[in-house]
Each structure stands twice: as C-alpha cells, then as structure tokens.
C-alpha cells in the first residue's frame, strides 16, 4: 500500500470528528422526540388559524390561574393537525391529552375516552345550542367529543342590494335561482357578480352538491352510495349555480372568494360564515359593514356542518383536568367572548340569544343559529369524500357530466367500508337508504 504522510494531530482531529458525529446523531434524534406530556400538565392541539389557536392560548393563561394545571397549546395548520393528532394516537406516544378534530378522525375514535359519565355528572349537554349535541361524535354508543366552533355552510348575501332590488330571502332553491337572475339583471353592469364560491379549493366542491341533495349517503347494502336521480339533479343544479359565478370560479380560493364578497364585488358568497365574520365586520378593510347577512339555507338540501370537537386520549391520566379544560371554553363568559374577540362561533344557546350580542350580530346570529340547528356531518370518511370532490371538479371543468359523475362515484364508493361510528351517525340523521 502507498504510504501517505498524516500528522498525529491531523489524525486525532479526523478521528475525533468522526467519533463526535457518530455519537451526536443518535443523541440529536432522541432529543427531537421530546414531547409536551413530559411537562406534567396537559397538552392540547388546535388548528393554527388566528382564531381557535389564539382563543386557546388566551384561555390557557386564564385556566392555569384558576386551576392547578399547566396547559400547553400546540397549534398546527389543518393538514398537519390532522396528521399529528393521528400519528400521536397511533404511535401511542401520548403527546397530546386533548385533541381537536372531527368526524374524519373516525379511524382513531377507539383511542378517545368516552365522556358520558362526565357529561351526565356536569349536565353538560343541556345548555348547548339546538342540534349540536346530537351531531357530536359517538363511538360504541358513548359520546367522545366536546363541541366548539360550530359552523354551517351558508349563503351570505348583500342585504342592501336585496332590499334595493325588492327581493325577499328565498325559501326554496328555485326561488334562489330566480333571485340570482334578478341580481344579475340589476347589478351585473356594476361589476357585481351574483354569486361567488371557492370552486378552486377542491375540498369545498361537495358544498355545491350538498346544497340541493336531500338523498341518502349509505345504501341499503350498508355501503356508501348516492340516490342516482337526486344526485344527478343536485349536480346539474350546482352547474346552474356556478353559471352565476365569475368565469374563473374554478380557480377561486377560499380567501379570494371571501375577499370578493368583502370588497363588495359579489352579491352572494356561498361559504363558511365564521371564516368571514371578523373581516366583513371590520370597517378598516370591509366595504360591506352593515350591508350583509347570513341567510337561512333554502330547502331542500343537506346543510354541511363543520364542528370542531375536543377529544381526550385514553392514555391521559389527569382526566378531570382534561375535562375541566375542554368545558372551560363553554363557560358562559368564555362562550360569549368567542365571536367578538376571536371570530369563533359559540356553542351555548344562551349566547345566541344574548341581547347585546344579538344587537351587534343581528345580521349573523339568527341565520347562523338556524343553519347550525339543521346542519349535519356528511357520513363520509376521507377517501369517499375526496373522490366525490374530485369527480365534481371534473364535472365543473367540463371533463365529465352529472350522470357520469354519479355513476363513477357510486361505483367507486362500493370499494370503501363504512366505519361503524359514521354508519350510526348516518342512521341517526336519516342518511341511510330505507
């Protein structure tokens, strides 16, 4: 072998560097796994949105003062939240004691502690707004979630334009379509589009379908399936609705749709009211302060509920502290502060009837409360819902027809198993073929 000269000093440096690297890598990896549960208190997760997470952090400070429990708030964007919650539960790390989620966590419902004993002891469900408790997650016959931030997909409209045009708020979808035609005739040349919707956000597309679909989601074989005739009609109606939206509607994101409405460029926004309420009410940024309302959803149709729930993982030792935290949100004074301070909808019936709030949110509360009372979760797990959304995307961009879409969805949906909690929820809500 060729001899090369290497000084002892250089040799020791090289060897030392190699040793340090070898020892350091596993150590760094181990330290990266440090979790909040080691703090001795509770760790709770929320969506990073500028609303729920901000409320959670503020409530946490207050909670810690009043209770002898530290609480650590971990906030993540929606996709990461769902991922992190599921990973932590599946890996059994007990990183989180209170987890935010919804029906899409049905896969891991078995990892959440049933709450009925605590609910009954504290009479928790009675003060809730109509319809909420019935929609909370149930696993093996027991409630597992505490609701917060309910919302229902709704039509928000320009009350000033409606009044000016001499229109009353429609009760049926045909009346709504007629109203849109009127609005187009009256205001089309003023640069006001009759309707705006976030059709560029694929996960929102089912809202267009749900709007007028009043059929089943689970067939009499116990598999996912749609009533073909009703589903086809619902998709065709959705295409009619989109004809009143801007030409580039299939590229419009949620933020863009909300901005168009808040900037006064649209007469109706079909979207999540809670995403809009703070900005639309801000005189510094909104062109429509005092000029808009949440309309009661026309009939017939499926009103899409979005409701966060807090679940406590079954590995949590301090269950009482977790329960106290979960119900801290719905203390009347906190529930009352949710909308004005954080833009989060309240859960107590009494808050929706608070006279001062009603005065300030007379354009929001009545419609929102009625829609939430009627709203339901679609009993669909992730893949069937995504498949529906993408198939609708094909229809709205001209690649498919309503008939082909329904056939395709019904064919694909037979491949999916219906999780038991979702099946039971569908039964309770009358969404199963009889």
């Amino acid at each position: 072998m060729e001899r090369r000269t290497l000084s002892r000093q250089a040799f020791l440096k090289l060897g030392g560097a190699g040793l340090a690297l070898s020892a350091g890598l596993p150590f760094v990896a181990a330290c990266a796994g440090d979790s909040g549960s080691e703090s001795g208190g509770l760790t709770a997760t929320y969506m990073k949105s500028g609303t729920y997470d901000v409320a959670a952090n503020d409530f946490a400070k207050e909670f810690e003062k009043k209770n002898d429990t530290n609480i650590s708030i971990e906030a993540f964007p929606y996709a990461a939240l769902r991922q992190n919650n599921t990973n932590a539960v599946m890996a059994g790390t007990c990183d989180y004691n209170v987890v935010s989620g919804s029906y899409y966590l049905a896969d891991i419902y078995d990892s959440f502690r049933p709450l009925d004993d605590l609910v009954e002891r504290n009479d928790f469900s009675k003060p809730l707004a109509a319809g909420l408790w019935e929609q909370c997650s149930i696993n093996n016959g027991a409630h597992i979630g505490v609701p917060y931030g309910p919302d229902a997909y709704a039509l928000m409209y320009r009350s000033d334009l409606w009044e000016e045009a001499g229109l009353s708020w429609p009760k049926s979808w045909d009346e709504f379509l007629a109203a849109l035609k009127n609005v187009r005739a009256e205001y089309g040349d003023q640069g006001i589009t009759p309707l705006v919707f976030a059709a560029g956000a694929p996960e929102q597309l089912p809202a267009l379908f749900f709007a007028t679909y009043d059929g089943y989601f689970i067939n009499d074989q116990g598999k996912y399936g749609l009533d073909s005739a009703k589903a086809t009609e619902a998709i065709k109606f959705a295409e009619q609705l989109l004809s009143f939206a801007p030409q580039d509607v299939t590229a419009i994101s949620i933020d863009e749709a909300n901005s168009k409405f808040v900037d006064g460029e649209a007469a109706v926004l079909y979207g999540w009211p809670s995403f809009l309420v703070k900005t639309a009410s801000d005189p510094d940024s909104s062109q429509i302060v005092g000029k808009w309302r949440v309309g009661e959803m026309p009939q017939p149709g499926f009103v899409w509920l979005s409701m966060w729930e807090m679940y406590t993982t079954d590995c949590t030792e301090n269950v009482n502290a977790a329960w106290k935290w979960m119900t801290f949100w719905s203390k009347p004074e906190n529930d009352r502060a949710l909308l004005p301070k954080y833009g989060v909808n309240p859960v107590l019936g009494s808050t929706y009837r608070d006279q001062q709030l009603l005065k300030e949110y007379s354009h929001y509360f009545p419609g929102e409360e009625k829609n939430v009372a009627r709203a339901m979760f679609p009993p669909l797990s992730g893949e069937p819902q995504d498949f529906l959304a993408s198939t609708l995307g094909d229809v709205f961009t001209g690649k498919s027809t309503a008939e082909e879409a329904v056939r395709s969805v019904n064919e694909k949906w037979t491949e999916f198993d219906v999780q038991e909690p979702l099946s039971q929820a569908a039964q309770r809500n009358g969404l199963v073929q009889s």
């Binding site: 000269t5 040799f11 070898s22 694929p202 863009e256 992730g382 893949e383 995504d386 993408s390 709205f396």
Partner: protein, 294 residues
C-alpha cells in the same frame, strides 16, 4: 506519523457508527414499507393480515392511480425542454465578465426556493383575476386563460412551475461542462471552417453529452416523483387533472391512512423510477466511453 493500514481501520471504525445510523434511518423505513405493502395495515390492528399481492393488484387496477401515473410520466416529457433551455442559457451566460456572473447568480435563484413555496408563488402569479401573468398578457392583447381552473392549463401551469424551479440545475451543470471543454478542439473546428452551428452540433453537443445525461438522470427521477409543486399549486385539481402518482400515494397513506396501499404504490413507482434510471445510466455509460475514446 505515517498513514498505514491500521490507521485506515481505525478511521473506518470511527465512521461506521454514523454510516450505520444513516443506513438504519433510510434502509429500515424502506424495508418496512415493503413489508407493509404485503399486509393490511390499519390504525386499529397495526400490521394486520397477510395480503399477498392484493395491495399491488388493487392499486394497479385503480383507474385513479393509473391516471396519476400517466401524469407522472408526462412530467418526464418536460425534461428535454428543460435541458434545451438550460443549455441555451448556459451558453449565453458562459464567461467571466461581471454582468455574466451577475446574470448567472440571478438565474440560479429559483433553485434556492422551496418547491412548496414555488407552487404557492405561481398560484398567485397565475391567478386569472389578480395574477401578474394574466395582467401582462392582457396588456399586450393576448388571451388570459384560467390557468389553474381548467384541466389542460392547470397541467401546463404545473409543468411550467416545476421547470421554472429546476432549469437552473441544468444551467449549473452545463456551465461547468462548457467551461471544461477542450478549447483546442473548438479552435481546430473553427480553423477547419466549421460554422457556429456545426461547431455546436459536431463538437459541443457530443462533448457535453455526459453532462446532458447526468442532468437527465437526476431530473427524470425528480420529475417523475413530483409532489410538492402540485400540492401547493392545485392540490391535484381541478378534478383529478394534476394528481401525480406521488400525490395520490401521499393522499392514500397520510390522508386516508391506507398505509399498505400507499406502500404498494410507492414500490410500484420505485420500480418505474429504477427502470428510468437504469436506461439513462446505461446511455450515460456509453456516452462517457465515447467521449473518453475521442
């Protein structure tokens, strides 16, 4: 002190733990994913029952996955265009003048941006309502398509955004290759009366063939497994138009938690990527030998 065999052994012994850790961190997940693809993993049961090849059959028979794979293969088609543009720009900025060095730095910037950010940026730029691209097109009287809202234009947008980010990679490699060309060959060709095009075609192209194939290897694999750009630009929409194979697998595994299907899909894509890499590497080997002979 002299550097002898026993020193080599000591050095190897010191480095082996780090290498072993890397092998464990990469090799173990790879092997485990292969195991997962043969079982029916679920959040409730863990590994579950042995499934044989059913996960592979299921995913290969899924029309949605087939469509996604086709799109991933389509992404390969843009690689030659990236090569051509990269080559042309490399020729343009070759040299050591100050402005050339400055332009070279600017042209390399897109590669420094995270792909997720590139997708988000192009989503804003291509907004049909408020995006800069349509604003410029409209100013000169050209059509202003609904870039990410129509099936065909959304695919074009995804192909373009990905190319925009990675053409600088071709530029870097070509600049290095062109800088290393034997100048006497170029001078001889000119003395022999060859035109610029003939010099390009008969001297420069062949001499830079190894670099071309090197870029082809890296960019082909990268383009085939594209996910980040489409995730932030369109999330696979509208409809299924921009759902690549990798995005489909991501959704299966991390959105629907069908980990076994996702693992099977990953190995299908790995197999296809290996075939692509093998073909290109063979061509590169032949090109390297041809250049060495010359």
């Amino acid at each position: 002190m002299t550097y002898e065999r026993r020193d080599t052994l000591v050095l190897v012994a010191l480095i082996v733990p780090a290498v072993a850790w890397l092998v464990f961190a990469q090799g173990y997940p790879l092997l485990y994913s292969l195991v997962l693809s043969f079982f029916n993993w679920s959040p409730g049961t863990g590994l579950g029952d042995f499934a044989g090849l059913s996960n592979f059959a299921s995913i290969l028979g899924d029309e949605r996955f087939q469509g996604a794979l086709k799109l991933s293969v389509l992404f390969l088609a843009k690689v030659p265009i990236e090569l051509a543009i990269g080559f042309a720009l490399a020729l343009f900025i070759l040299g050591q003048t100050a402005w050339r060095r400055g332009v070279r730095t600017l042209l390399l910037l897109p590669m420094l941006i995270a792909p997720i950010a590139v997708g988000s940026m192009w989503r804003l730029l291509l907004s049909s309502d408020s995006g800069l691209v349509n604003a410029l097109l409209g100013t000169v009287g050209l059509p202003t398509p609904n870039w990410i809202g129509e099936q065909t234009t959304a695919v074009v947008a995804a192909l373009w955004a990905d190319s925009w980010e990675w053409i600088p990679f071709s530029i870097i490699i070509y600049v290095a290759a062109l800088s290393g060309l034997d100048q006497t060959l170029l001078a001889s060709a000119e003395v022999d009366g060859a035109s610029q095009w003939q010099v390009l075609r008969y001297v420069i192209f062949p001499m830079t063939l190894p670099a071309t194939l090197l870029i082809l290897v890296f960019r082909s694999i990268d383009a085939f497994i594209t996910i980040d750009i489409v995730y932030s630009l369109t999330f696979g929409g509208p409809g299924f138009a921009t759902e690549t194979g990798s995005l489909y697998i991501f959704k299966q595994g991390l959105r629907y938690f069908d980990i076994s299907q996702a693992a099977a899909g990953s190995w299908v894509m790995l197999g296809m990527a290996l075939v692509i890499a093998t073909i290109v590497l063979k061509l590169k080997g032949q090109a390297d030998r041809a250049v060495a002979r010359n």
